[in-house]
């Protein structure tokens, strides 16, 4: 039975902040196949193409037939927890601070034996289901959950260490002016965030959703203009220490290609809002997030980028926009490495066209605001790092994996 999480009391300002530590994240290349699966919330192990043996730990030759054809495939998660132990002494600084720590041996229905972290409700001798999660080092680990959901399951202390659950955390939605920003504010409020800061620029420019925003529970409107370095720095200076999750909703969507859209002023706005805006947020909030990665129940947890899936493959109808999104994706990958020492995740949420005004003429399927907002919340609750929302994004992901060049041609038509 998991003890429900208690809303943390106000931080004692005289107490030193605990510095982030990480478990060992070194892995062989083959083992990073698990990292790829964990980033997307999949449970995948190597399955020998030649003899169908399911293999663990990951390796370079099949232990049944020595084949080297060992792709990662989704496999059944179910198994039995054969034995468990509780580690009470360890030389590793990360785990030393966190003992007692339960681990166990799971015999998977799919075949292999997996040493895994144990959810508090996983019982020795009982049925479990395994999940792959990214631990604070950013590498994948297996955790055994009870076969059926239990009460307050997400509040389990090990699970919370591997996820970025918004519950009791303080979130910054960087731009509340857009419908996306407003949907995010509602979704995070519903997910139990302690405060939802919503940034607004140009207070002299009214917009339709303003009244609705103010009505959302636990929303606090703050001045924030991602195109203004001073504005971003000031918000971080004043509130950075009590923001645990940043969700960058600042958007700039305009149709038009690189050759055929006349002039550069829109491109400059795209770069300033999206790419430089991201850099401003990264420089202003990155260091404080990174230093608070182990700061209790409401530790700093994540930086969420909302990215067009066309960051991965340019869509010429929205060609300049795609290119800017690609720049943001690369910057996010850099941020991932820079924030990892603090155990802070950079979450990239990819989507195709949205049901918003600047995609008005694009035919369906398009992603609705509610679906996008819920996908972001869910990604944080599950500790995912790479998320594809909606049919178009999933379609592009699959095509890209098989033949990028064909996709390049398909996007142009």
């Amino acid at each position: 039975m998991t003890e429900p999480l208690v809303r943390p009391r106000r931080k004692n300002p005289l107490k030193r902040t605990r510095l982030p530590l990480r478990p060992q994240g070194v892995r062989s290349r083959a083992a990073h196949g698990l990292t790829a699966a964990a980033a997307e919330g999949r449970f995948a192990l190597q399955v020998c193409l030649d003899c169908n043996t399911v293999i663990y730990p990951p390796r370079d030759a099949c232990p049944s037939c020595l084949s080297a054809r060992l792709p990662f495939r989704d496999v059944a998660r179910g198994g039995t927890l054969v034995a468990e132990t509780t580690v009470r002494t360890t030389t590793d600084p990360y785990f030393r601070e966190r003992t007692p720590w339960r681990v166990g041996t799971v015999k998977l229905d799919a075949g292999p034996v997996v040493v895994a972290h144990l959810h508090g409700d996983a019982v020795e001798g009982g049925r479990v289901r395994l999940e792959l999660k990214l631990d604070k080092s950013g590498s994948a680990v297996a955790i055994a959950l009870p076969e059926k959901d239990t009460e307050n399951m997400a509040d389990d202390r090990y699970l919370r260490e591997m996820t970025c659950d918004p519950k009791f955390r303080r979130v910054l939605i960087t731009d509340g002016r857009t419908t996306v920003g407003q949907a995010m504010a509602q979704a995070f409020s519903d997910a139990g965030a302690a405060i939802v800061f919503v940034g607004l620029a140009d207070p002299w420019k009214p917009f339709p959703g303003m009244a609705g925003l103010r009505k959302i529970e636990r929303v606090e409107i703050v001045p924030l203009d991602v195109t203004d370095s001073e504005s971003v720095t000031e918000l971080a200076e004043q509130n950075g220490a009590r923001i645990d999750i940043v969700v960058n909703t600042a958007e700039h969507v305009r149709a038009g290609g690189v050759v055929d859209r006349h002039g550069l002023t829109i491109a400059r706005e795209e770069i300033d809002v999206r790419y430089l805006g991201l850099l401003r947020l990264a420089q202003a909030f990155g260091p404080i997030l990174r230093s608070r990665g182990a700061d209790g129940v409401n530790s700093a947890a994540a930086f969420v980028n909302l990215l067009s899936v066309h960051a991965l493959m340019n869509w010429p109808a929205y060609g300049s926009y795609s290119a800017t999104e690609a720049a943001c994706l690369s910057a996010a990958q850099c941020m991932r490495a820079e924030l990892r020492p603090g155990g802070v995740k950079v979450v990239n949420v990819f989507f195709g066209p949205l049901e918003t005004e600047w995609f008005q003429t694009v035919p369906p399927p398009k992603v609705t605001l509610a679906v996008l907002a819920n996908a972001v919340v869910r990604a944080l609750q599950h500790g995912l790092e790479d998320v594809f929302v909606g049919d178009v994004a999933e379609d592009i992901r699959q095509r890209l994996a098989v033949n990028p060049k064909a996709l390049e041609r398909e996007m142009a038509n």
Binding site: P203, W204, D228, E230, S231, G263, T265, I266, D272
Partner: protein, 265 residues
């Protein structure tokens, strides 16, 4: 050729230094928070004022502090040249770098409608209103700036742009009075405290945006986002308004100064 008059410029300088001639700043500070003109989203927009610090006595530059700034030609307190509008596009010397520099110094009349504007943001300046002003202060001299004092610069930034769901609601001139200014009074240019020289709902006039259309169409100038007009006399102030010498520029942010005669306060 005429008689050569000796003008004592040093006396002018001494008078400025001593305060016998007061220098009044009619310029808003360029800052990130200052509202800019907002056009329909699918059109090109005016760049807002932004600053990026280059160094501040730190590892990026140990003994100095400086910034790179970015802004549009029409950001903040700024000057409009005739080339800015379609009606003035073919006139000679119509850009900020080709206007005769003597035209950057000119007298100004200040028409006060601040009380009317306080009651109604959609106050439109009309010919009768100006004729009433002239009855009290005398006719507007040729090649004078006409500055419309609305006290709009005293509004907080949140109200300054006057934006509602059908656009801006800020005071400005009707088409007839602008045409009259140019044809009957040979004015130098038109200046306002609001964003733009035109009435907030000026897109619905005929012609739309008459202040721009008629002024620039006749090679006259515009000044906007002015402040401190309430410190100026109705007549007699001299305006110095010299825009940046931008190649074929349509306008530029600038320092607008008013020289006013009168002893130390």
């Amino acid at each position: 050729m005429g008689v050569l008059m000796t003008v004592d410029l040093m006396a002018f300088a001494r008078a400025v230094a001593s305060g016998d001639i007061r220098v009044i700043d009619l310029t808003q500070t360029l800052s990130q928070e200052f509202p800019t003109i907002v056009l329909p989203p699918e059109l090109g927009q005016c760049a807002p004022f932004r600053m990026e610090e280059v160094s501040r006595y730190d590892e990026r530059g140990p003994a100095w502090y400086w910034n790179n700034v970015s802004l549009g030609e029409h950001t903040g307190t700024h000057f409009d040249a005739p080339i800015h509008w379609i009606s003035g596009k073919d006139l000679p010397n119509n850009a900020v770098d080709t206007i005769n520099v003597a035209q950057f110094i000119a007298p100004a009349v200040v028409i006060d409608c601040s009380k009317e504007c306080a009651a109604d943001p959609d106050f439109a300046l009309t010919i009768p209103f100006v004729e009433q002003w002239e009855a009290r202060h005398g006719e507007i001299e040729p090649r004078s700036w006409v500055l419309l004092r609305t006290d709009w610069s005293k509004h907080a930034y949140t109200d300054y742009a006057g934006l509602r769901d059908d656009g801006a609601h800020t005071p400005g001139p009707e088409p007839a009075v602008v045409k009259w200014f140019v044809e009957q009074r040979d004015v130098h240019g038109f200046g306002t405290e609001t964003i733009g020289t035109d009435f907030g709902q000026g897109q619905h006039f005929n012609p739309p945006y008459p202040a721009h259309f008629f002024m620039h169409g006749k090679g006259r100038f515009g000044l906007q986002c002015l402040t401190n007009l309430d410190l100026l006399p109705p007549k007699g102030a001299i305006i110095i308004a010299a825009p940046l010498k931008i190649k074929q520029g349509s306008g530029s942010p600038l320092r607008v100064l008013a020289l006013v005669a009168g002893g130390n306060v």
